[in-house]
């Protein structure tokens, strides 16, 4: 379970209890009352902001959280590794021949390596080895590598490959858990990344077209024919969902996160089988900061309000249990119900679900 941000919640028990009460109404009243449970905070996005990067994007939320992502590709010499299913230590004539038999598109399938993508997340106020940036970058890398398509696309030939450096910079302090924002910015940057066109053939030293207009997009666009097996592939995007009671709320803000029962980060990519809908690439639970909040002291146990301080901690616990559903803040315990998880996943991946809307909204930025 990934840890929550180090900056811990500083809300009073009365506020937490109030927020919890609003979010557990049906339908939930969110902090921004104009928004429904599935609504995202509005954001502003642009791409190609960094001239010297292969692809870049900047997304700013309305509350001032802002992320900048740059994608830089470099040609790197591949480390020699034996091909599975053959003792071929040197590329002999035989192996080259078999490679030629294969379809040119399949040439790179399964040859990508995880190390070809390097990601760094920088968050102001955090060291590089602090848990928050480390976990964020590993969750983002994990979702990118899960499908295996991106790393295969970095294959040039047996001796060379592209190395992709993805640098993510959060320009503002992390007001809410920034995973979704960073993932969307990364998605947009990768979607608009371009690599120079390759001019050399086979295992020659790679030679590239120096005309940037001739460069090829990292995620090739679908031209005209949309056959089922030639679906346009897009990088995955992570959405955050949290549960309060039986309510599911997407894209929680900081205050809403502070009263969450459980938080899920769902990485999803567009579905291969159907033109609409999405598939789940990875799921992680995130430890909600609500677990660390101090419980509110009920009036009956508070000496300042005419109550009596319980004599022992066991006594205090029993009294607390009886007051569970009143206006006293009690930090949530336990995890997420299995039914809720499946409900969240369904809401994300269904046709016209959250994932599809996010991916198409990001796509619209690139087109528009």
């Amino acid at each position: 379970m990934a840890p929550s941000q180090a900056a811990h919640v500083n809300l009073s028990p009365a506020e937490l209890s109030f927020l919890r009460a609003t979010l557990s109404q049906t339908p939930p009243i969110r902090l921004d009352h104009t928004k429904g449970p599935k609504d995202f905070r509005s954001m502003r996005a642009e791409y190609d902001v960094l001239p010297s990067a292969n692809g870049s994007a900047r997304i700013a939320l309305e509350d001032g959280t802002e992320a900048l992502v740059g994608v830089k590709a470099e040609v790197e010499k591949s480390q020699w590794r034996p091909t599975p299913g053959g003792e071929a230590s040197i590329p002999t004539v035989a192996t080259v021949a078999t490679a030629e038999v294969e379809d040119t598109e399949d040439d790179s399938r399964g040859k990508g390596q995880n190390a070809w993508i390097e990601m760094s997340v920088e968050i102001p106020g955090f060291r590089e080895d602090d848990s928050l940036p480390v976990f964020l970058s590993s969750m983002l890398t994990e979702s990118l590598l899960a499908s295996g398509e991106l790393k295969d696309r970095l294959y040039i030939n047996t001796r060379f490959h592209w190395k992709l450096y993805i640098d993510i910079l959060l320009l503002s302090p992390p007001l809410s858990y920034p995973l979704a924002l960073l993932s969307m910015a990364t998605h947009l940057a990768l979607l608009t990344s371009r690599l120079p066109a390759l001019k050399s053939e086979k295992d020659e030293d790679p030679l590239f077209d120096d005309d940037w207009d001739a460069s090829v997009p990292l995620y090739p666009k679908n031209k005209g024919k949309a056959s089922a097996d030639n679906q346009i592939d897009k990088p995955p995007v992570i959405v955050l969902a949290m549960a309060v009671g039986n309510n599911i709320i997407f894209d929680p803000c900081k205050e809403e996160l502070a009263v969450a029962d459980a938080v899920l980060a769902i990485a999803c990519a567009s579905s291969k089988s159907s033109p609409t809908g999405a598939r789940v690439v990875s799921i992680r639970t995130i430890d909600p900061p609500s677990h660390l909040t101090p419980p509110g002291i009920p009036d009956s146990m508070n000496s300042a309000t005419g109550g009596k301080v319980p004599s022992s901690s066991a006594d205090a616990l029993t009294q607390r249990e009886l007051l569970a559903n009143s206006g006293v803040w009690t930090p949530p315990r336990g995890g997420m119900k299995r039914g809720l998880i499946s409900q969240v996943v369904k809401m994300v991946v269904e046709n016209g679900g959250v994932a599809e809307e996010v991916i198409s909204a990001l796509q619209a930025i690139e087109v528009g």
Binding site: F18, H33, K35, F40, A45, A60
Partner: protein
């Protein structure tokens, strides 16, 4: 529409604060011929820290400016707009922290608990302090503070608690000392906290922000019941359910303390009906929208925007399809446009 992603936009045109116009009466054109100064003839131009405003010796430096040793150039020390009052040049910062003044009503959040006092965040450059001797203790105003009270300091306020207080005094380093020695002040509950940036009051009238001289605690009548709004001068805002204190009318001066002290330091919310929850959230969202639109935040404006928003929602439900933008800002913009039409 679950998600809206827009392309970046140019910054919205700045609204003039209503009382902004009296400052710059540039009657005699002394500044002609000074190239450096020519760009700032309009008040809308922004100067940045370190930028030379003028090297003309006839000007006096005011707030937000600086004259380096052995020179006569006036340099800006903050990022903001230039103001001229006769021969005085001052720069009003775009954003500034709250500067406490004696008598200000502020909302604060307890940051730490010390032996005999609390440190309170009131959005000022430095934390304010609230001594144990400056609060009402339950059980009578004239009770002595004992060692037991010091030990039980966390039963009154603990870390994270919100309180409304008054600035009692200022120390030499501009740290404020607060007190809650009134029944109006004390711990906050049954509501929602919002904060807005920009300092209220201050040397020059600022755009947005809470106005110091207006009424800061008022009750709003809504369909679901009464709602209290507390506007702290420091930009912290509390919107909560109005709770009738039953002792308010019949209790005499001596009994007043005892009747109120029951719930004075409670951190437990009352039973809040869904309607009240909704209205509290609505008021708080509208205040955020008003900040985003750059309007001033005071009683009059909040009441008008709230009533406009309620009216608009009613129309939307009966007619459908009322034109409004996205989110809180969109609603407030629509309401303001409508108010402007009405005159």
């Amino acid at each position: 529409m679950a998600i809206s992603i827009l392309p970046p936009s140019l910054p919205a045109p700045r609204r003039h604060a209503p009382s902004d116009t009296s400052d710059h009466d540039m009657s005699d054109g002394e500044i002609s011929g000074n190239e450096e100064f020519s760009h700032s003839t309009t008040t809308e131009s922004i100067v940045t820290p370190g930028e030379t405003i003028t090297s003309d010796t006839q000007w006096m430096r005011g707030h937000g400016t600086y004259i380096p040793a052995n020179s006569s150039t006036i340099i800006s020390t903050v990022a903001g707009t230039l103001h001229k009052t006769n021969k005085l040049l001052s720069v009003q910062a775009l954003r500034a922290r709250y500067q406490p003044e004696i008598g200000d009503l502020v909302i604060g959040r307890i940051v730490s608990v010390q032996t005999k006092k609390w440190s309170v965040d009131i959005a000022a450059p430095m934390l304010a302090s609230l001594p144990l001797s400056a609060i009402n203790l339950p059980g009578g105003i004239l009770r002595r503070r004992t060692a037991v009270d010091e030990l039980n300091i966390r039963t009154f306020f603990s870390e994270g608690d919100l309180l409304v207080a008054e600035v009692q005094s200022l120390h030499q380093d501009n740290t404020a000392s607060l007190h809650t020695r009134s029944l109006k002040y004390g711990k906050l509950r049954n509501g929602l906290f919002t904060s807005l940036t920009g300092a209220g009051g201050g040397i020059l009238s600022r755009r947005g922000g809470v106005v110091r001289s207006r009424r800061q605690v008022f009750t709003l009548n809504t369909a679901a019941g009464e709602i209290d709004v507390v506007l702290g001068v420091n930009g912290y805002i509390w919107v909560s359910k109005h709770v009738e204190t039953k002792g308010e009318k019949d209790a005499g001066i001596t009994k007043l303390e005892e009747t109120v002290s029951e719930t004075l330091y409670s951190s437990q919310n009352e039973d809040l009906e869904p309607g009240v929850l909704k209205e509290i959230t609505r008021v708080s969202t509208l205040i955020k929208g008003m900040v985003a639109c750059g309007t001033r935040v005071d009683e009059d404006m909040i009441v008008r925007v709230y009533e406009g928003a309620i009216e608009m929602q009613a129309e939307e439900e009966s007619l459908g399809g009322v034109e409004k933008g996205i989110g809180a800002k969109g609603i407030v913009e629509a309401v303001l446009a409508r108010l402007a039409l009405d005159g």
